[in-house]
Structure formats: structure tokens, C-alpha cells
């Protein structure tokens, strides 16, 4: 008995601890706090087509270098294939070697008569898909950062899907957000005006008597580490290269296997890059994406070819991210908007007000009814119901579940459903009393005999809630969560806590002849 009391007291204390203060501990859904919810889809077809075009032009230049004259090289984006035809009979071996060396992402099949079909391997498709998703996620993160949204949610919907869920609390203009998400990244390469970075903006200004040196600009780095430290770079105004000059970039590794970033320039890019690397050897170039410096490599040697590398102490993830950032200067795979919901700031507040009012009214009505109908035993039920509400809120806070408008409805519904178990048990006790049992044995029989019906009834509701959770998105999921937690809490309070109250009463008045129920 003492152990039971301790358990209930501890649990209640725990619940109170988790929900106090309520305003900070309960996560409100976007429908209650206002904001934008979007579901975007990354168009994988774009990413595949880009890969195909890239491989095709790459192969063409290699074939040309190797002096293999073919009649035609054609890409079929819908089939994800490249067809090569008219390979001269004497160059077949050489051509096949080119395919093996340079087209490792493709399966090669010999169609006879010097014709070949190169089809994209499924492993490669998976890789491309993964990269495109990562690029989209990083781009969205970067753009959203600019709005200063607190606690944005940007995540892939499911593990394998092409969809991304974006939730931006506190914003109210979806058109502007959409526009900024679908624009290509703003990527610039500029020479550093001072060889090292600065700790703060003030340091730079102090060095120049409160002004930036002529012909320079100041950009922050991306926040680094957990503390989000930012350093500042002083760069020249002149833009040496921009996003359009870079054809592609990918994670690669040097001869020792340490990760680096390889990128390919287009014709215009090569000219510009060759000039800047020759004239400014030894200086540093800042790579600025969306007004933040993502990297500032030194120029080690003049580069006159389309292919170049950025080396450094990268981890694999870092090099992958940098490659994505270099690529995002050009248009990434297109994103389409499947779903957009915007809730203005006032509607959510209004919903909360009305929801809280309805919950209070429901609670009062049910409590008064239980008191009226069950007299003293009604106090049992009401206490159990109060604890139930407390545990439900505690559960929502503990699991970091989000309270949505349907969630509030689920909460109110729980008030009505939670006493059901009490009703079933009390009615059974009454019945046992009518059959002439003493209060003590009637209580014990009432609880044990009503148990199976109580459990079965609640489990079926729980099953329905689970399917709802699995099916639902955002707001509806919130409903399923509150309903499920409410059912579990009500089972506990009705079977365990309310029993304990009865036992307490019996202990206080052991020889009671009549039970007020």
C-alpha cells in the first residue's frame, strides 16, 4: 500500500515537473502558433537528366582525345540511356576501355555493329537521388536560415521518399518563401583583401578607423560548431567567378585517400579561373554562398584546365557538403510544392482560447455529473480524471509531442472517454452490492470483473488511433497522439489509482456497511 502511494505521488510529481511552466513545455503545432507548413518534392528526373548530359559530354571529349571517331552519341533521358553508334571496327577494344574507365556509373551492352547502349546503373541512380535530396535539404536550410526562424523543421518525409517537409513557425508569406527556395543559389568567388579572418565585425572596423577599406566588403562565415561561432572575412568587391561558371562539383579524394572536392568549370570559367590563379598565386579565394563564406582556399598553383580540386582537412561529410554548395550556384533539381498551409498569427491564438474554454467546460460538466450520479465514489472518479489530465499533459511534454488543434479536440474527447472505465467499474460494484456482497468484496469483484470489458473497449480505440497515427500528417497525427496517451493514462488512473482511493476509504472506515456509490 505504501509502495503504491509512493508510486502515484512520484508519477504525479514527475508529470507536474514536466509540464511546469505549461507555456514553455508544450510544443504547439503550426496550426496553433501560426506559420508555414510545406511539402516539397524534388524532381529526380532533372537530376538524372543532368547526370546523363554530363556523362555524355564527358565521354564525347574523351573519345575525341583518344581519336575514336563515332557516328553518333545520343542521350535518352526518359530511358536513362546513352547510345553510341558507329565505333570503327579497329577501335572497338579501345572504345570499350574508355567505357570501363570513364563510364563506371553505366552498364555497357554491346548491340553489335559498333553500337553500344550505356544504361545508368541502379546503384548510381540511388547515389544521384541521395545527392539531389541532400543538396535540396542543404539549400533549404541555407535559405531558411536567412529568415531567422526559430526551430524550423526541415526533414525528409520518410527514408526513401523524394519529399521534404518544411515547417517555419512565425512566418506568414508563403509566396516569398517559395520564391527564395526555388531560386538558384547566389554563389561568388572573390579574393580576400586581408589574408586572415576576423573575430568580429568591430575588429575590422577598428583596423580601418570605423570604415572598411576602399573596394572591399565584409562577409560572415557559416556558424561553426555547437556554439555557432562566426568569423568575418574582408573580401574584394570584384567577383572573379560566379555560380554559372561551375559545371559540376563532387566529393573526391587525393592519391592518399583523404577527401577533397573536385569541380569542373565550363569554358568561360576556365578563362577566368586561369587568369586569377596565375595572377594571384598564393592568395586566398573566398567562396561565398548566399552571402556567407563557406570556404576560403589558397591558390597553390595556376589552373588552366576545366578540372580543379579544393584540398584541405575535410571529413567525408564536409567535402560532400562543400561540393553540394558549389553546385547549388547552378539551378539544382527543380522542387515542386505539393502542399502549403499557412496559418496567420491570430487564428491559432483564437483556437487555443476556444479550445481551452471548451476543455474547461467539458471537464466541469463531466465532473459534476460524476459527483451527482456516484456521490462519494464520484470524488474518486473526479480525482482520477484530474490525475489523468495531468499525466496526459505530462506525456505530451515528455515525448515532445506536438499539440495541434485536432490534438486539443483529442484532449477534450479524452475527458469524456476517461471516465468510461470508471463508470464500467462503478456500475459493476453497484451490481455486486445489489447481489448482497459487502462493500469490500463488492469493490474487489467490481474491479476484477469489469477489467476485461474495460481493456477490450480501450484497446479497440487504441488500434484505431494507431492507424490514424500511421496515416495522418501533422495536425491529425497530433490527434492520434493525444488520444492514445489519454487512453493509456485513463486505463492507469481508472484501474490503479481509483482502486487505491477505494482501498484508502476502506482502510479509514473498515466496518462500513454502506458504500456511497
Amino acid at each position: 500500500m505504501k509502495f503504491k502511494i509512493l508510486f502515484v505521488v512520484l508519477l504525479t510529481a514527475g508529470a507536474v515537473y514536466y509540464i511546469y511552466p505549461l507555456k514553455e513545455k508544450i510544443n504547439l503545432g503550426l496550426d496553433l502558433q501560426g506559420g508555414i507548413h510545406m511539402v516539397l518534392q524534388v524532381e529526380m528526373k532533372d537530376a538524372m537528366t543532368a547526370e546523363l548530359d554530363n556523362s555524355k559530354s564527358n565521354m564525347e571529349s574523351v573519345l575525341k582525345d583518344e581519336k575514336i571517331d563515332v557516328t553518333q552519341v545520343k542521350a535518352y533521358p526518359e530511358k536513362l540511356e546513352i547510345m553510341v553508334s558507329g565505333v570503327p571496327a579497329d577501335k572497338v577494344k579501345k572504345a570499350e576501355k574508355v567505357f570501363d574507365d570513364y563510364m563506371s556509373r553505366f552498364n555497357v551492352s554491346d548491340d553489335g555493329d559498333g553500337a553500344y547502349t550505356l544504361s545508368l546503373k541502379s546503384v548510381a541512380m540511388k547515389e544521384i537521388r541521395k545527392q539531389a535530396m541532400r543538396q535540396a535539404l542543404i539549400t533549404i536550410h541555407n535559405r531558411v536560415d536567412a529568415y531567422g526562424v526559430s526551430e524550423p523543421i526541415i526533414q525528409r518525409q520518410g527514408l526513401e521518399s523524394n519529399r521534404i517537409v518544411v515547417e517555419l513557425p512565425g512566418l506568414d508569406d508563403p509566396t516569398r518563401v517559395k520564391k527564395s527556395l526555388s531560386e538558384p543559389g547566389w554563389l561568388e568567388w572573390r579574393l580576400l583583401a586581408a589574408p586572415n579572418s576576423f573575430k568580429s565585425k568591430a575588429d575590422v572596423l577598428a583596423a580601418g578607423n570605423g570604415k572598411l577599406p576602399e573596394g572591399t566588403a565584409l562577409f560572415p562565415s557559416e556558424p561553426r560548431g555547437k556554439a555557432g561561432t562566426v568569423v568575418w572575412y574582408l573580401v574584394k568587391d570584384r567577383v572573379e567567378l560566379n555560380g554559372n561558371d561551375i559545371k559540376t562539383a563532387r566529393r573526391s579524394s587525393d592519391q592518399f585517400g583523404s577527401p577533397n572536392v573536385a569541380f569542373t568549370l565550363n569554358q568561360a570559367g576556365v578563362t577566368k579561373f586561369s587568369r586569377v590563379t596565375t595572377e594571384h598565386r598564393g592568395e586566398r579565394l573566398a567562396i561565398i554562398l548566399d552571402k556567407k563564406v563557406v570556404s576560403a582556399p589558397s591558390i597553390n598553383e595556376p589552373i588552366n584546365t576545366p578540372n580543379a580540386q579544393i584540398t584541405g582537412h575535410f571529413t567525408i561529410d564536409e567535402s560532400e557538403d562543400l561540393a553540394i554548395k558549389l553546385r547549388s550556384g547552378a539551378l539544382p533539381a527543380k522542387m515542386i510544392f505539393l502542399e502549403e498551409r499557412t496559418v496567420g498569427p491570430s487564428l491559432g491564438r483564437d483556437s487555443i482560447r476556444k479550445g481551452v474554454r471548451a476543455a474547461a467546460m467539458g471537464l466541469i460538466i463531466v465532473m459534476i455529473f460524476m459527483l451527482f450520479y456516484y456521490k462519494v465514489a464520484g470524488i474518486n472518479a473526479d480525482l482520477a480524471l484530474t490525475l489523468n489530465m495531468l499525466y496526459l499533459l505530462g506525456g505530451i511534454a515528455y515525448f515532445h509531442a506536438t499539440l495541434t488543434l485536432p490534438g486539443i479536440a483529442g484532449f477534450i474527447l479524452t475527458i469524456g472517454m476517461a471516465v468510461d472505465a470508471n463508470v464500467l467499474i462503478f456500475e459493476r460494484i453497484k451490481e455486486e452490492l445489489r447481489n448482497g456482497k459487502t462493500p469490500k468484496s463488492a469493490i474487489s469483484a467490481g474491479f476484477s470483473k469489469a477489467l476485461s470489458a474495460v481493456l477490450d473497449g480501450n484497446i479497440t480505440t487504441l488500434i484505431a488511433a494507431l492507424f490514424l497515427f500511421q496515416y495522418g500528417t501533422g495536425p491529425v497525427k497530433g490527434f492520434a497522439v493525444t488520444l492514445s496517451l489519454g487512453i493509456i493514462a485513463s486505463l492507469f488512473t481508472a484501474i490503479y489509482v481509483s482502486r487505491w482511493f477505494f482501498d484508502l476509504r476502506l482502510e479509514l472506515t473498515p466496518n462500513v456497511k454502506k458504500l456511497s456509490i
Partner: protein, 382 residues
Amino acid sequence: MKKEINIFGARKIAVTISLLLMTISVIIISVMGVKRGVQFVGGSEIQVKFKDPVNIADLRDTFKENGFSHATIIQITGQNEFIIKLKGKAGDETAKGSKVSQRITEIFRKVSKEEKTSLFDLNKTNTTDLAYLMKTANPLKIDETQMVGEKRTVYDDIADKIVQVRSDKGDFFDSIDEALALVSQPEVKAFLKKSCMLGSYIKLKEDTFSPSISSEQTEKAILAIVMALAAILVYVSIRFKFDFAVGAILALVHDVTITLGMFVLFKQEFTLPVVAAFLTIVGYSLNDTIVIFDRIRENLKIVKTVPLDQVINTSVLQTVSRTLLTSLTTLFVVVVIFFFGGLALKGFSFPLLVGIIVGTYSSIFIASPVYYFVEEHFYKEK
């Protein structure tokens, strides 16, 4: 046994009434059709509130003039608020969709006679946008490293306060000075004064769903309801005998059909929360049935010689008070949600209201007769 009311004897009448109601429901559903919400048909739904009264006819005309002849517009009774529904078209998910949204903004501006300026709208803004405006201009000259990422600043507090007060006084400021009175810092005050204006309408809500995702949602919703029904059937047949399960499931089908019929008859709109309500009915309306079945099972163990119909009748009578009481407490709160929970929850609570009443009736009058019928016709020989 003493003489008791023969509630079970009324089963033939009850079943006839139910069959009739179900038939009528099916006819209503197939003739009138389920009115699906924007999530399930694709398109946009905008809830807008104007500062000054706007005539609904004017609003309709302006929409028509601007090429939105397919827009449905309804006014929220007694309010200066409107809900506008636009059917979706393929391609809305791309940049074209933004243009539609811009055109609608123009319409609202015209109807509410809002000036077009490049100033920041203090009536429409939400907290993050307002805080961002101040952060970029930084009139207090806060060190920028203090404003990186998610760090809270004094600007966030000012923005929260302004939006909170505006919402408490009914969504609109009457003058800029009224809003500025909430700001104590003179630099911020001066900055807001020169860069803000007050708009004369706000969008309370705007939902857009592309046609492709909406058809997917429809399929998923149907699947969820069917799967839940199947899972419950499995559970009930494990816990009870199969003949009980048939009774329970037919009672459920009965409840869902009649509720849907009423739902369509009262021109309610099928939205995502309504799916939640229907699934709740599926789970909940079974509770009462289980209580009765549980009692029948218990009584069958005690009395072996009494005919089945009499056992059922006794069991129903023994449990009728709790069946009614449990439904009543839940009904209390559903009624409260329906009348006081606000517009958004009205559509959700309507099916629950109908479902709980129908579910209680079917527990008493439908589930047991079906069980009796199955038992008498398929199991009696054993």
C-alpha cells in the same frame, strides 16, 4: 427468473429501421456525393478577414472580373470573414501557383481599399517576419554575433508583444502609434514609424494542395479506415468467438454508413480531421458492444439451460445503464466541442456527435441480434 422487459424481442423492428436508415444513407451518399475538402480535391482555401465591412457580392464580382469565375465564396455568419475556395489545376505546384496567389492578394487589396506601398505591413505580419525586419536594420546597433541563427534578441520580444496585443484587440491596429506605444526603445520606435504601414485585411489561413497529393491523400484515408476496421475485426475475433466479431463489425458498418449519410445530408465537408473523427467512431462505438458481449459470454458460462435469446436479453438489460452512461459522458464533451470549440472543430465534432448516438443504439439493438442470427444459423448444430 423474474419477469423482465423484453428488449431483445424488439430486434425485428430495430433491424428493419436500421436497414431502412442504411438504405436511405447509401442513397443520400450516392445521389448527393461526399463533399470533399481541399486536401482531397486539390486547390486552395483561403480564410480572409477585412478590417472594414465588405459586401460579399462585391467580393464575388471582383473575383469574377479577375478571371476566377470558379471561386466559391462564403461568409462566416456575423463576421467580416470569408472563406474562398479555388479548385486546383495541374501545374499549380510550380511557379505559376505563386502568380495565382499574387493575383488573389491584388483582389483583397482592391476590395479592402488598401494602398499599395513598399512599406512593411504591421497588421499582417507574424512575429518572425517582424523580428527579421528589425534585425536587418538593427536600429539598436546590437553586436551581430548576438543575432546569428536562433539566438533570441530584444527584437524578438518586441515582435512577440506587438503581435500578441494586436491579436488580443481583434487583429487590427487602428493607427501606427497604437502599435508603437508598445515599444519602449526610441530608436526602434523611430525605425518602425518610418518603415511600417497598416493593411486593411489579413489572411487568417491559406491552404494549397496540388492535385497529385490530394488524390494520394484520398487513397490513404480510405486505406486507413479499411485497415483499422480489419485490425479491429482480427482483435475482436481473437478475444471473442468469430460470431461475436461478425456482430461487432456489422454494427460498425451500420454506424459508419448512417453517420456518413447524415454527414452528407447536412452538407458537411470531408476534411483530414473528419477522417480522424470517423476512425474514432470506429474505435469507440465498439466499446459499448464489447461490454454487452462480455456480459453475454459471462452469463453463458453460468446458465447453461436458458435459451440464448433470453440470456442475451438479460445481458443487455444488466448492462444498459453503463452503455448509456459511458456514451452520455462522451456525448457531453462532444456537444461542448461542437458548440464552443470554434469553427475549425465543428466539422470534426459533427460526425462524432452522430456516431456516438448511432453507435450506442446499434450496440443495444443491432450487434446482439446479428450475433444471435449467426449463432442460431451457423453454430446451432454443434
